[in-house]
């Protein structure tokens, strides 16, 4: 694969010696893969599903691929972009079962709906020390998040789920309407499924994920949850006090300077909430002190 527009932008040597694994090849996973169509040492695509007609609207692949495994279509797409065929491995299977293939990866790019599968993949990532990037889109495409884990043995996906409050909701079905019938958010097995969102919202998160992959490989990434908001999205709660005063001053300054603000405060219970839109903010990710994914890891010092 020859590149003509990446000189001094892409660390080709690192790319060529790395194996990148895309776990989940839905709308988000396929768009992310398309942004990273480079001459990797190896590209592994894993997804058990076949492309359906209603995927096409947001997916990388088109109607000519309907009925085929998504990963097969993805492999063909990459080859058509100049990636050597021998370097692309397509596995039409559940990613959490493909541990042997994943163990070879230099980095995992995870775009899977099912939290349980993500937790299993996370455990492998933690145990093997494989950096990972997880993406997710919020219903209606109001925004999405990219979880960046350059050192999963220190901060992992479960740590991020804890920080985002998702673990508190484990096992419960969606109750918010999101503007649609909540029962349409889950399939017959009770798993969360894709819901309305426009492709550009998905593409924005795919772009963040692709950038995160390159940052991890270049050694510049820090563990964080990058929240990309299209419409107003609550980020953190802020109590009344000095932090709130400073935030209010900052927001006012933006307005005074004639800048259109993409940040605002709204009341939330007994305090305030910081909201953003048309932009992104990174939440610093710290290790969850009782993270079960880490408790099984025994350090050399403990032996």
């Amino acid at each position: 694969m020859k590149l003509y527009r990446a000189e001094n932008l892409l660390d080709l040597e690192t790319v060529k010696k790395s194996t990148i694994a895309f776990l989940g090849f839905g709308s988000l996973g396929s768009l992310t893969a398309s942004l990273l169509a480079y001459p990797w040492g190896r590209i592994i695509l894993i997804d058990p599903e076949k492309l359906e007609a209603d995927n096409v609207e947001r997916h990388l692949l088109g109607y000519s691929q309907v009925g085929k495994p998504k990963v097969q279509g993805g492999r063909e797409w990459l080859i058509d972009r100049g990636v050597e065929a021998k370097r692309v491995l397509a596995i039409a299977s559940d990613a959490s079962k493909e541990t042997d293939a994943l163990a070879q990866a230099s980095i995992l790019v995870v775009s899977i709906d099912d939290p349980e599968s993500c937790y299993k993949i996370n455990q492998l990532s933690v145990n093997q020390g494989i950096p990972a990037v997880y993406g997710g889109i919020y219903p209606m495409g109001t925004g999405g998040q990219t979880v960046i884990l350059p050192r999963p043995e220190e901060e992992c996906y479960l740590c991020s789920e804890k920080k985002m409050g998702a673990l508190d909701y484990k096992g419960k079905l969606p109750t918010a309407s999101y503007g649609v019938d909540p029962t349409t958010l889950v399939n017959s097995a009770g798993k969360v499924t894709a819901v309305p969102a426009l492709k550009y919202s998905i593409g924005a998160v795919a772009s963040d994920m692709a950038a995160a992959v390159m940052a991890i490989l270049s050694g510049t990434a820090e563990p964080e949850i990058l929240i990309h908001a299209q419409t107003w999205e609550g980020i953190i709660n802020v109590r009344q006090g000095e932090n709130l005063n400073r935030l209010a001053g900052f927001i006012t300054s933006l307005s005074d300077l004639g800048l259109t603000s993409n940040i605002r405060l709204t009341q939330n219970g007994g305090g305030y909430q910081l909201n953003i839109r048309k932009g992104k903010l990174g939440l610093r990710l710290n290790r969850w002190d009782v993270c079960p994914a880490h408790s099984s890891v025994v350090s050399i010092d403990q032996i």
Partner: protein, 90 residues
């Protein structure tokens, strides 16, 4: 319900809040219609920091004041994620 000014408002924002509070008169929660366009920017700024809610109407804007929260004890700790985004798809 007490109708105290939010504590994080200062300077021009605090003055605008006071002005709107005076306009609201006996019913602090009442929507106040503002037609003077020279005040719209300040009202927008006040809205951006949680001092009021604004709705555009044909004549200008309709403003409902927001007051200092009372239930501080129920507020999660600083930095806790505001909205549990548990439902995602890929």
């Amino acid at each position: 319900m007490t109708y105290n000014k939010p504590t994080h408002l200062s300077g021009a924002l605090a003055e605008m809040w006071d002005e709107l509070r005076a306009l609201a008169g006996d019913n602090p929660e009442a929507a106040v219609k503002v037609t003077d366009s020279s005040k719209f920017a300040a009202i927008d700024a006040l809205s951006a920091v949680g001092g009021c809610n604004v709705t555009k109407v044909a004549e200008g804007v309709e403003v409902t004041l927001l007051f200092a929260p009372e239930a501080q004890a129920e507020m999660p700790v600083v930095g806790e994620v505001a909205v549990a985004k548990q439902h995602k798809f890929a």
